[in-house]
Symmetry: D4
Subunit: 249 residues, 8 copies
């Protein structure tokens, strides 16, 4: 169900074409339908500015396909995250508009151009090269939600001059996504350099006392810089969504 369809419905109510009771009924019954195993929520675009996203982790190929089918007819843009390459291959053959992004393991299905809906630039930064898959998930998410996004990778705090060399780029961005594993110190440094919102994404990159990203997570939560908030470990998608909401006109 598209925002335009809803607008039509409400205008019909305003002009008297549609009785309130019937409009109410349609709104109540339309938003989701039962696929047996999952309620697909068509209302979400309304509430969240974006159609249902499919978290493919732990779902079977059959489940993903069925949800895609249900969503496809009513929305222009779909995002599938955490999709294994073998499942992706099968779906690419079945859904012609599908594009698979192997680094981030994301698939996008767009039936028309993505319109630019953001106020400015979102900048995605990583501390190391191993953090790139998570960063790419954020980048793809923010792009399909209608934002201009640029990436700056491998500029961790242990080589501070690499980060500082891009100081100028920082001035142009309206929102930052900073992705880091291991010591997770990069968001603190970025947060101290800019006066824009910084979304910190800890990654599970590391070993030993990184405890699967816990060390980076705690570092970011304790950041001394102001304007920093944190999402779940490896949650590039969540960071991309939030950046899109912040960047909206």
């Amino acid at each position: 169900m598209d925002i335009k369809i809803l607008q039509q419905l409400l205008q019909q109510v305003q002009t008297g074409e549609l009785p309130v009771s019937e409009a109410l009924e349609r709104l109540r019954t339309l938003p989701f339908e039962n696929l047996g195993f999952a309620m697909v929520d068509h209302h979400r675009e309304l509430r969240q500015g974006f159609p249902e996203v499919i978290f493919a982790g732990g779902k079977s190929l059959e489940q993903i396909r069925a949800i895609l089918m249900a969503l496809r007819s009513r929305t222009d843009h779909i995002l599938v995250t955490r999709l294994d390459s073998d499942k992706a291959e099968t779906l690419l053959a079945e859904f012609s508009e599908a594009v698979y992004h192997p680094v981030s393991r994301a698939m996008t299905l767009s039936r028309k151009e993505i319109a630019d809906r953001g106020r400015g630039l979102i900048l995605v930064i990583t501390a190391g090269t191993s953090d790139i898959p998570v960063a790419e998930e954020a980048l793809i998410t923010a792009r399909i939600m209608g934002n201009r996004v640029e990436a700056l990778y491998d500029v961790g705090v242990a080589g501070l001059h690499r980060l500082l060399a891009h100081h100028e780029l920082f001035r142009r961005a309206t929102c930052f996504i900073v992705v880091a594993g291991m010591d997770g110190a990069l968001p603190s440094v970025v947060g101290g350099l800019v006066d824009k919102p910084v979304i910190a994404v800890p990654t599970s990159v590391g070993y030993g006392a990184s405890f699967g990203g816990l060390a980076a997570l705690l570092t970011m939560l304790n950041s001394c810089a102001t304007g920093v908030a944190v999402v779940n470990i490896d949650n590039g998608f969540g960071a991309g969504c939030l950046a899109a909401l912040i960047n909206r006109v």
Copy 2:
């Protein structure tokens, strides 16, 4: 050091009144001065849109007073957080422009009106009454940074109808700060209802397996709703700052 002073300086460089080398020197030396125990960073307004904030926790009355003295002559608005009431009493007698907010244990010192610099409304929500001190810290922080802020307290998920009754207020806000201890479930619910950024603040309210706010923190990091990011436990100040940055024009 005010933004206007810096603008003057740069204009003088542009017009040739000030040689570049001297301008460089002034910029290098001005920003902070050594008080012996703490470097007060006058540059911060430049980089962060707000003067130095004093985290009073763990600082002696003498240290707080000295930093206040150093800051007062160069900035219009100062915020002191985590200030005990007994220290506050002494400072209120010494700094005539100081106002103390006992619930949040914050003190504000403003020498002129706070100009509205935000795009819209920031809504601060709490799950319970015990979360209010943290919420008030966020509210005061966002206000002194030039934002309109409203509060909606004690609307936790165990009595969902109380929250839903304010659904309309939700449409008016551009950014949400949701404060909750114990199960920390409220940001997930709010995040599912709105398509605006939600800053989740876990509090240390609770007992037993709340482990000083850890339970609420983990809940929020694992929120199924999109558009939610988390700050440190009890970090109302950080939430207020981030909301102000998001709400800026």
Copy 3:
């Protein structure tokens, strides 16, 4: 050993047919027998209202088969949990009354109809589709223990309207099993809507700071709603048993 056999025995004691000493001896020696590796407890039906359940996790096919053999001759209903599909296949060929439930990896063996022994309806609810396997284990457990059970899946708090749409169904149930991973917030919301016992089941669904279900577990333990108790992570079986005990006449 069936409850009826025990009743007979006690009546024989009452009528004098059986000396107390011999009755005592038979009660002492009958209840379990040594299979070499596990003591099968035939007394359990007496004490727990249900025959021995076989937790197949970590047991070999041979062990499971031997326990099944020992139990089969004395009980009408057997439940095997956490049974891999390959082992299930072999057992299906050997035990004609066996039925395998692949989603929950449970096997049931019933030699007669399951009699309805419950007072009302047990409602099993999940937050997401990935929580369904655990929910199904609870559902199958409660059913084989003689209860009417209905399921309501994928109604997590991030899309609250989906849950509220089923408000009416809530009024009909006498006991709720609420299954959720990630933020684990659903039991708090359900607990706030109903005045019936709510059994919360955290699942290991999630990633990063969900720490294998720990986040959901802590959320549920800290629930602000009253009438909520928690079982172990992924313990659908335990939830089903407890619901059956609560629902008993």
Copy 4:
């Protein structure tokens, strides 16, 4: 707001005395009122079978008094938990119907007899004497909710014969609350002896590796006995509520 008042209201709607729109309005506006700091939820009796309970921990005397005032005029029974004795003393002087229970630090305010609304007996058991305060909170909660409750204290597993001596009492109960700190092993043993619901309450009693009740909590979550569910550490109130809901006719 009493259930009877609501019944009257609905009957008036049925007989036509009250228009639907006005009934709707009254239901929407009555349930809570804004005291400035906390929304008192008068609807809760409706949804939860019991009036608002006041968790006094972290609330000032003024806040507790104000909530008591608001609740008192509309409900017959109020329960205040975690109330310090010095605050209790003041309130006892002001509220004539108040009774303070020092062991559990609970206060009850009843303006009429508590009617028995339960199906059977609730049995509260503790492992040690130090667990009694938590057990008493559960006992008082269940009693004010209209249940018959008996107590059996200091029968921990290290002296098993003490527990087994009361085997007969076990047969009479419909629901068990088992309270234990340190190793938290008692609910497993009780759960193995009975075929009734067991609500396990870990306490923070212990030292060293008990980690404030965490050890007992984990033990109970991992109980091998069926029919056991767990509430938060020291949460006697929650256990009492759940037992009352289970024991309801």
Copy 5:
């Protein structure tokens, strides 16, 4: 190096056959020799009453074989723990005196009868069948160290009557090894029934909040019964050793 060889050496010193300096030298140089990767400590039998034990976990077949070769010529009994079955197969072909115990994954190499060196009986008890591999490691360890050992498996606290049925056997033992995963409650119960040392062994058996045996470990450390001490999770070998030391004449 056997105790007897050392006795001979010391007697030679006593009788003057061997100068002190030379004896000192031999003692200093004999006890270990460098295999390049590991120092085999032949002195251990002296200090610990038993030859070097090989912990095969993380060692290659080549390393295990080399250590076996070095030890074999000087000791009568060798124990290899945590040995995978495929490595065992190869070693069985090469070392004729080797015996492999698949349940516990232990291998024993004895070149003469094991003499009984203990004061009494060691009783090894498990809560469930899945705990048997750890129990068997303890049993084999204690046996090769010269003790009489009996086993009592699958008598967990959830079916207390099974345990109590063997009360008599308890009187005969001088030392108990109690092995349990999940809630780890069994050692508390056994410790309360007997007045002999109880060595508690937590196992990693369980799921969810058992956290790899942590729950059982904490339960055992917090045992209310006296006379209970704990070894590492799954450390059957350590329990067997300690029992042997306790049981020594």
Copy 6:
């Protein structure tokens, strides 16, 4: 109830003086009596070789006094642990046989000489001076249970020569209690030097990453030395009990 009284009772049964039914009745009713808040277990001496020990932590002076009264008339030796000095002072005035040990905060009440019931010497060792209170609790416990005990304090691994200087003393002991906080390394070293049982007691001595004794606890559980088992943090009493059981003839 003393062991001798029980022996008399059984001999009377043997000689026919006492019918079995009456003996049974006396055994069933004698062992504990209800003080209202705690069941005092007089049977324990029977099962555990020592009368009830009173853990005074968390008990009021009134509770301790009442238990002492109940125990005093039937047992010769009582041990009170974790008793604050102010409570001790009051009790010393009331119980003439009481002796208070301020370092360990233990009180002993003996009405006759303590008979030596042990096989050999128990050696209590500490790593630092701050570990002494815990060590003294172990020492006093073992002594009142009829054992010879010696102490060797402040011989931590960071000054290894201090430990090794007492090597000879090690040969004389039959059982070791090794008490250490901070890194908890001492039991590993002692365990490697001796072939006797070593009971390791972690203490909460330390700061920072000692996490209240957790670091020492984990070190000891992971000890590479054989023959080491661990009791709870600061549990000197438990160590003393276990050592006494090990040392019994």
Copy 7:
């Protein structure tokens, strides 16, 4: 016992003035003496380059005084750490050479000038002003061990320009001690700027998810910069010692 005294002793052995046996005896007996509660280790200067340091935390005034008395006659420099100001006051009156440092709560007792024994400069850096007490403990420790030390406080990563302004000072140091709480990110940044050893000291400064310094500790252990090692939380003394050992000629 001073190094010079030992040198004399060895020279006397070399020249034949002192028989080896007697020298051995003196070395064996001299190093420590029994004060009843603590073995004072005079050998430590030999092994560690510095006399016994007294960790006053958890020691009574009497214990500290007695150790000071024992040490004072044989050593020129004593360091007491974690000494409360009230105890310090008493000791200052009794030990004329004592100096108390209130910020770090350290006391130093030097009977002669401290000779410079280091190769270069040790630089102590803190992230915030609240980290200064720990930094001062490190500074005082390194100074009394004969090193030149400078301090640079309050230069955390959130205001990176403050740190970078002191880049030149960095070139002069041979070893860095970097002290930080909260996010603990500073050592990573310093480690990336210099090619000298960096000793990272996490502090317990912070709140919420800093978990008493755990967050900073994990950050530092996961530092991406090379040349960084970590000591315990708040362990300024340990950092100062290690820096002194690194800086030694």
Copy 8:
């Protein structure tokens, strides 16, 4: 970029051959170049005394090869860590100067002799044979950075005499790397024996309550010996680097 190239550049500035502005520009632009996925930092040799090290964990063969290509033309020595043997095989065929060290999974590429740049000997010690891979990583790292290194393996504290036998070797070293898993007690013992810096490396060797090296890590952080600092679990590379920095002239 080699140090010599930089020296040339600066000399050209000194002699006037190169204008300052151009020199500045070259320094600003030269240090790193964008490979698309990773910024290779040629400046590091300057700042850290050693070229970029490639952490191969989580990098694809293509990524490793590309970085090697970029580095190879400008540096004489490259170290690759955590390189799987199958990737190593391919790279060995392509890079003729490459040497693979299978135990430590490190690869070194040196185009000229490694010059000795250290002051003395670095001694690498392990507690067990399973710790050797981590120790070898440290050894290889320190060697390629120009240091003399010796190894002493399998001398854990449970067999103290093995360690003490090498006491003499200890006197010769200027810096120690002590590698231990399980109880992690060895660095405390070594730290007590020497007066040189000790770098402690916890390893993930162990099981059960070793929690992947956490136990050893905590032990080392709490070491009672002075002069000990800790690096991340299994971080042999970090220990080798730090030792090299400490050992530099």
